[in-house]
Symmetry: C2
Subunit: 204 residues, 2 copies
DNA sequence: TAACCTATTTAACAGTAATTAGGTAAATCG
DNA sequence: CGATTTACCTAATTACTGTTAAATAGGTTA
């Protein structure tokens, strides 16, 4: 609604609308990620952006809307990265590995999301927003599911469990990943694939 | 400190100290689990216990102390259950499967924890409490690690990654588990083991 | 120059959180 | 019996929280 304004400026430290909006989204992403929804107060976010708390309402109608925007942005970036990384690959296992690497690198190396797949949403969200968020999450998982569906698994391996297993380890990698540790995000992703490859039907 | 008191009672609905303490711990566990630390207020907990908010301070010095007690209790129960389920088993893979089943059943079927392994602690906790919690978590993970160390893995599988992978899927199982769904907690656990068994050195 | 718009501030509000101080009824003890 | 202890309550306090209303400084447009 407010996204096409351009004119006007103000005091020395004023920014243009789009710049400020993106800045707030970045800061909010980092703070929601670091502290969780409740403990990342609007004051925290505003302080980091160098503006007053009330000014946030010029860009977002409520904290909930800000949260939904953060999730939206994160999931879209993640989806784009994974799609881009996998589209040129045809072998199912290679495709899954590329997806894993893109997922981990998006989550861990760059500071984009990680907030995304928390088990329960951290707030009592409005009906509409909740549906929107769930849809986006399903859309992303669909990308992965489509890859998993191409893979031939041993008969005794439950495909849905395999998918959940993969997604959970991707998400949880944020727990044990340390920037200064011995494994890079890509190595973690490839290591996960190495483990899962034991499930291949053609046990190589 | 206060654990040996016995005497005295009060109005009709008063409980003895230990009973009330356990009741509060159970309720707090369920509420922290369902709503998260911030959104589970002391008023919520007190209401459910049928007492006033201020009365909680008769049992716990602060919300933080209550949280630490909940974690403590949960991890001890979980550890006990897993130890008990595995001590009589000698084959490493069977042992791990028993651990997985005990873990999942403790987390999912009975309503004990699940709060336990959230990536980041939900509060800025005091130095001492934090150390205590981390120690307990490490102690539990040690149980699992000792089992994993007995397992023979393919050469290209990173043992630490394998361990983290296992723990993360155990924890995340709460995400997709539904009491009315097609899989029981034990089936989820066994399914996870079936997936991981592809990593066995003697590829059966 | 006058009118308007934009990004921001100041100030206040209403609600709720955790916490504390002090009191009270009933059971127990000597 | 009276004194004490136990388990609780009432009421107030402090410190935020998200949110709104209104004002303002400076740039744009006519």
């Amino acid at each position: 609604m407010k996204s096409k304004r351009r004119r006007g400026a103000g005091a020395a430290n004023k920014l243009q609308y789009d710049e400020r909006e993106q800045q707030i989204l970045s800061i909010a992403t980092a703070l929601f990620e670091a502290r969780g929804y409740e403990r990342a107060s609007l004051k925290n976010i505003a302080d980091e952006a160098g503006i007053e708390t009330a000014s946030l309402y010029y860009y977002f109608a409520s904290k909930e809307e800000l949260y939904v925007s953060v999730m939206d942005r994160s999931l879209r970036i993640l989806g784009d990265n994974v799609r881009r990384a996998t589209e040129a690959v045809s072998d199912p296992w290679d495709k899954l590995e590329c997806a894993a690497i893109a997922h981990c690198e998006s989550m861990l190396a760059r500071k984009i999301v990680q907030v995304v797949f928390h088990p329960r949403f951290p707030l009592e969200i409005s009906e509409g927003s909740l549906k929107e968020l769930k849809r986006q999450r399903r859309d992303y998982e669909r990308i992965i599911r489509d890859i998993v569906d191409m893979i031939e698994l041993k008969e005794n391996v439950d495909r849905t469990l395999f998918l959940n297993f993969f997604l959970s380890s991707m998400n949880y990698s944020g727990l044990w990943y340390k920037p200064e540790g011995r494994l890079t995000p890509a190595q973690i992703a490839s290591g996960a694939i190495a483990i899962l490859k034991g499930c291949a039907a053609d046990a190589s």
